[in-house]
Amino acid sequence: MKNLEESIEHFAELTPDKAAVITGRETLSYASLWSRIQEKAGRLKSEGLSVGKPYVFLTTQDADFIATYLAVHLCGAIAVPLEASTPKERQQQIRDELNGQDTLTSTNGNEMVNGKWSNAKCSDILYTTGTTGQAKGVMLSAKAWTANAENLMDRLGFTSDLLFIVCGPLNHLGSLSKIYPTLMSGATLYILESLKDLNAFFSVFELPFPKFATFLVPSSIRMLLQIASKNLAAVAQKIDFIETGAAAITQSDMELLCKILPHSRLFNTYASTETGIVCSYEFSRYGCVPGLLGKPMKHSSVRIGEDGRVICSGATLMSGYVGAPQLTAQVLKGDEIYTSDIGTLDNQGMLRLQGRQDDVINVGGYKVNPSEVEDAVSGFASIADCICIPARHILLGTVPKLLYVPKPGKEVKPKDIADFLRGRIESYKIPLLYEAVDVIRHTYNGKLDRKAYNLANQ
């Protein structure tokens, strides 16, 4: 199968005028997208980007992002898209770390194939908290991306007459992975900045396409069900499928979505940056069961370890964590990824998730390591102690909550803490809920007693 860049070149010849990427500002045909990618690649090369070198850039949720991302691949270089809100200091830190990686060029194995650069082991580095709970760069190969695309095309069914709406951040696997099967099928991608302008989201359905599809995290589905169920029902006939994943969706939300969209195919997918896209379950067809994620897809296998952990193998797996061989070895053992998810396989081989083994808080698909939040808060002069814990939220399911002890005589308002954290950590890691307390519980050896707080919240 052709890779993404080869597919775009192919469709630029076969269906040059067909819309490849649409945004609120412009429409790029396959011919113009391919032309922009080549033009951008030429510019990047003239600026010194070469094979195996990392290219760090911010995710802008537009056609330029797609062109830049693919142009970096055309140069045989490594795309490192960062969240738009990444603080400047962090951006520079990542650039410095990657440029200091002597092994990056020698191990990524990029090579010239048929006159084109083919990225063998590392075409992308995506920064995530993910499986280990520590922020790190996950190296993904072109081969893994193609396998992810084939998994999605096989299970979800992408066809050339589809308009796929991306409304999540393109530096995350959930949304970035969808540009592959969409453009490799000769279909059309619509990029929205986010889902906050729901009128913009629903206006996409007025475009002259026979069918539409999208990926929505469970909190976005909850949001649509809460305030836009009428709008959703009005476009029900046009929705071919919706895929969800990255966090748990409740049974009641699944059932309500099935009721509003009786003719659409609705999928719950198991994926992570490290494992790639592994399983997907069509709950609109087989029944709404919380945690049920279906059988592994064509390029993937799943088994359950003795401790109940989900262990994945197959062509979609990451190549490793950049510059962190020890961390890689903890997760990638042989040709298997040991996740922090706890699950079971039923007698039909379907995966069912039951929770996580670590302290990571899953906020609508974003993974937040509470220690990182506490470390950032520790720089706030008026706070003596704090702990970041998971708490229930009507929309997001679980969100980070900060319990904090103000220093004697100091009054600390939640907004002051949130303002302090802005620019120090990514926006999705900033706690949504706050509570001033007299004391934070610690274990006998002085560590934060997370277990006590987590139990109290159950």
Binding site: K196, I227, I394, L395, A418
Partner: protein, 75 residues
């Protein structure tokens, strides 16, 4: 009404600068939904996706105006 709305939204969205002249640009999808849900509940009005326009959510004053109009329509 404005004071009550500020009080409600400050508690629910501590990260958002409610005094901003570009409030909508500060919000994410969760923020937009939170505002609509909280105000619907507080004032017994129906706020839907079509109300979540950049114009209606531009400033705290435009939010107050939207709520006042909805309350008036209810009567």
């Amino acid at each position: 009404m404005k004071e009550r709305i500020i009080e409600l939204l400050t508690g629910a969205l501590p990260m958002v600068d409610l005094e901003s002249d570009f409030l909508f640009s500060e919000l994410d999808s969760l923020g937009v939904t939170t505002i609509l849900m909280l105000l619907s509940e507080e004032y017994g009005i129906e706020l839907e996706a079509k109300d979540a326009t950049p114009k209606n959510l531009k400033t705290i004053d435009s939010i107050v105006k939207m709520v006042e109009e909805k309350v008036k329509m209810k009567k």
